[in-house]
């Protein structure tokens, strides 16, 4: 499975590398687009020194952590949400008769190596904010755990979005609310949002574990919403649970897919 995936993305990378100037430009363009969100945060902090109790560097830390996880996921499997397009074009049938898992094929489909530009941008912001904040190094072990958790949560979310498109063939944009919406939500401290929304993204759709709960631990801050200390460490468990759900949903989607051709 891993070998198939690696082979597929290597093939797409080679095809992109055939036009190096175009590749370099595309990398610059994706970085510039991603920098708009960063620009918004900087403009907000040109007007205030704290947002919902968090300083500029702390918000940049949360933004960097969430963005890095999101952009890595987007780079690796971001095209899984094109299921509805494949269904409408009839290409999903082709995918299903090939001797490789549909998820792997669709995740690697039209892999865009230029998205690495956004990953580097997010990594630079995270690195800069960590250097400025200088967190307690006994707590810094959480940073890689947080990134791995975030990548798994976003990957599960993309998979759920893909699975949902088996139902929403004509309205694929709905799933953007969860994927890109999740990215938008996690860019800011959750203390910004309403209490019910925060409860929802803690206990239902566990976006709070992408960067907020582990980030609070790294920053050594109590949760303004009052969750107990041990919830800082629940990220990996939440990520695992969501992945299982996503895998189930994906299976259901594939199993219940009926090609238009097969109905005669």
């Amino acid at each position: 499975m891993v070998r198939t995936y690696a082979l597929l993305i290597w093939t797409w990378t080679r095809s992109a590398a055939a036009y190096p100037a175009s590749f370099a430009l595309a990398a610059v363009f994706t970085t510039v687009t991603a920098a708009v969100d960063l620009g918004v945060i900087l403009v907000v902090f040109a007007n205030t020194t704290a947002l919902a109790g968090f300083s500029r560097d702390e918000v940049l830390f949360l933004y960097g952590a969430a963005s890095l996880a999101f952009c890595v996921t987007d780079l690796l499997i971001g095209n899984i949400d094109r299921v509805s397009g494949h269904i409408r074009a009839g290409t999903l049938d082709v995918v299903l008769i090939r001797p490789a898992a549909a998820w792997v094929q669709l995740a690697a489909d039209r892999f865009v190596p230029a998205r690495i530009g956004r990953v580097l941008q997010a990594a630079a912001v995270l690195g800069h904010s960590v250097a400025v904040i200088g967190p307690d190094w006994r707590r810094a072990w959480m940073i890689p755990v947080m990134l791995a958790t975030g990548i798994v949560i976003f990957a599960a979310l993309w998979t759920l979005a893909g699975a949902l498109q088996f139902l929403l063939t004509d309205a694929p944009e709905v799933v953007n609310s969860f994927t890109y919406g999740g990215q938008q939500l996690t860019q800011y401290p959750l203390s910004v949002y309403g209490r019910d929304l925060v409860r929802g993204v803690t206990y239902v759709l566990p976006l709070a574990f992408v960067n907020w709960q582990p980030g609070l631990y790294v920053l050594g801050r109590p949760d303004p919403c009052g969750t107990p200390e041990f919830t800082r460490f629940l990220g990996p468990a939440a990520a695992l649970l969501l992945s299982l759900l996503a895998a189930l949903a994906w299976r259901q989607g594939i199993r219940h897919y009926r090609s238009t051709g097969s109905q005669g």
């Binding site: 175009s22 430009l25 595309a26 363009f29 510039v32 687009t33 708009v36 620009g39 918004v40 403009v43 907000v44 040109a46 007007n47 205030t48 704290a50 947002l51 919902a52 929403l168 004509d170 309205a171 694929p172 944009e173 709905v174 953007n176 609310s177 919406g181 938008q184 939500l185 800011y188 910004v192 949002y193 309403g194 929304l197």
Partner: protein
């Protein structure tokens, strides 16, 4: 089809074909073409609403830290947020909406240029139909959700509504003018991705869609408020809120409408020559 510069230019059309009735038909056609996909429009409305809610919380947090920022109170800021989310569809803030780039690449544009109506007006009329449909189906739901969840305000009095209607029309004209120029650029650039990204960044950042332009610090704010993108979002949003004088705001929008439409005329003339040269 071989063209040569000696062939009389096809831009002289019989006058009876460029009647208002033709353009009314094109507006209706643009409207109906998008009305064929209500599911897609409603999905867009849903996503715009979700992002509106997320953005609203950020703005509330900012206005709690700094009340009265940019001349808005918290209610104004939240209203601004949902109004701008409602503009995404009709003003096509993420770019595109015109079929011209594909037609330039395929060469079909040569046919469009010999039609008995000028390409720019033709495209404008069709796009107006699209905008009208998306304003109703993609624009209204975020406003209703904003009213239900955050109690956003509505313009009061017929004068404000009339100003808003004029402002929306002008904002659409500026949005079209900009996207038309971006679309024509395909004629010179074989790959239009770069221009599209540039346009996306300029339109989302400098229109006020992401943050009210009043928040931009110092000279950046002054420059942003004078650029054409401000006429697409910030100006009509201010007319909605009643936070800007009506006359100067409409004049500002009219100025950019005329400038971009004029550049569009020059651009159309330029691609006409280019098509002739490539064809011959």
């Amino acid at each position: 089809m071989p063209h040569s510069p000696h062939v009389p230019s096809p831009c002289r059309h019989p006058p009876e074909d460029t009647t208002p009735a033709l353009y009314a038909r094109l507006v209706r056609h643009g409207f109906r073409r998008h009305a064929a996909y209500p599911g897609a429009a409603l999905a867009g409305a849903f996503t715009n609403t979700v992002f509106g809610v997320l953005r609203a919380y950020t703005l509330i947090a900012l206005w709690q830290a700094r009340p009265g920022l940019a001349g808005y109170d918290v209610a104004d800021a939240v209203t601004f947020c949902f109004v701008t989310q409602a503009f995404i569809g009709p003003m096509q803030l993420f770019g595109g909406g015109l079929g011209i780039p594909e037609r330039i690449r395929s060469g079909d544009i040569a046919l469009d240029l010999v039609r008995p109506a000028p390409l720019q007006l033709w495209a404008f009329a069709e796009d107006l139909g699209r905008a009208a449909y998306l304003l109703a189906v993609r624009g209204v739901p975020p406003l209703l959700a904003g009213a239900a969840l955050f109690g956003i305000t509505a313009p009061d009095g017929p004068a404000r509504w009339a100003a808003l209607a004029a402002g929306l029309l002008a904002a659409f004209a500026v949005s079209f003018g900009w996207r038309y120029l971006v679309a024509l650029s395909v004629c010179w650039l074989t790959d239009d991705r770069g221009v599209n990204v540039l346009s996306l960044v300029l339109t989302t950042f400098f229109s006020g869609m992401l943050l009210p332009l009043g928040l931009f610090p110092g000279a950046l704010g002054e420059v942003a408020a004078a650029l054409p993108w401000a006429a697409i979002v910030q100006a009509p949003a201010d007319l909605y809120l009643g936070t800007a004088p009506i006359g100067p705001t409409l004049a500002f929008q009219a100025f950019w409408t005329v400038v971009l439409a004029g550049l569009g005329v020059l651009g159309t003339r330029a691609i006409r020559h280019r098509v002739v040269i490539q064809g011959g």
